[in-house]
Symmetry: C2
Subunit: 145 residues, 2 copies
DNA sequence: TTAAAATCAGAGTGAAATAGTAGGAATTAA
DNA sequence: TTAATTCCTACTATTTCACTCTGATTTTAA
């Protein structure tokens, strides 16, 4: 029941972009350094996020990446679905394709996984990058006082 | 965000044992055939479930496995934790060990994964094998009428 | 007593996924 | 023109996954 590093690193990177939202493009290199991720690897993740429409890129010197939409219009579920694929604890209850099932578990264990899937989706879809930024701010305040 | 076949097959097997609860030991071979799982592979899963205290084994001819507790005292979370380990979308929020985190995501992405973890656990811990048996019965009724 | 039916234990294996690493082309600001 | 940057594609070492197999032990039943 683990996310791969794609989702893990990808959300860190998107959160980093959200913290810099409105201040121009952020270079991949700086994100990688702040978040302690391999730059080469992060390139692949950013390519996926760009193709998925969550970030826009600015090429050339002083270029970088910016969120394609404001932070309150991007939630964790969006990021995870692009980097890890549809949410599905087991293949036969994937959010996308309705896969075939052999008769025995058509009814029962399948409904369990559907509930797990929906539980995961509900949490992920209820947290936006803006929520995360607000929480960061709250934490920063806490440390300061 | 996938379960491995250990959890997938393991729950099927436990559900099978629950359906036969009270009727003596059920052989691994018969479970494997009904649930369409490799017998060799299922042996490993049953060994883990036995060591985890969820099933008891009866050796020798006419032997097999029985649930160690009634179906309403075993829930999906129990099965999954034994076969897949502690619930943890990322390592640093495992239900067991409190792992170290580098400073950057100490506060924020970490809390996201904690919420996801708790969402998964809440669903899994709220469904017992007895619930599944009741649902099976309901389905069977539906098909009959 | 013996044969068959089971669990128990542990080792081996091929394929796939994971987590990077790398090189070079294209683009753009200064 | 040069340096900074994204873009694209291929490569690779390691680990995990999903079995597969062999043989030992235990127990029932004929």
């Amino acid at each position: 029941m683990r996310l791969s590093t794609r989702g893990h690193y990808g959300l860190k990177a998107m959160f980093d972009l959200a913290l810099h939202y409105g201040a121009g493009p952020v270079s991949l290199k700086s994100v990688a350094e702040r978040q302690n991720i391999s730059g080469y690897y992060l390139e692949q993740l950013m390519a996926a996020l760009r193709k998925g429409g969550l970030v826009k890129s600015v090429r050339g010197a002083q270029g970088g990446y910016v969120l394609a939409r404001p932070p309150d219009e991007i939630n964790v579920g969006d990021v995870i679905r692009i980097l890890e694929g549809p949410i599905a604890p087991v293949e036969c209850v994937s959010e996308l394709k309705v896969a075939e099932c052999d008769q025995a578990d058509r009814c029962i264990t399948r409904t369990v996984w559907e509930k797990v899937r929906d539980g995961i989706a509900r949490v992920m879809d209820s947290i936006s990058l803006a929520d995360m930024c607000r929480e960061e701010e709250r934490c920063r305040q806490g440390r300061k006082s």
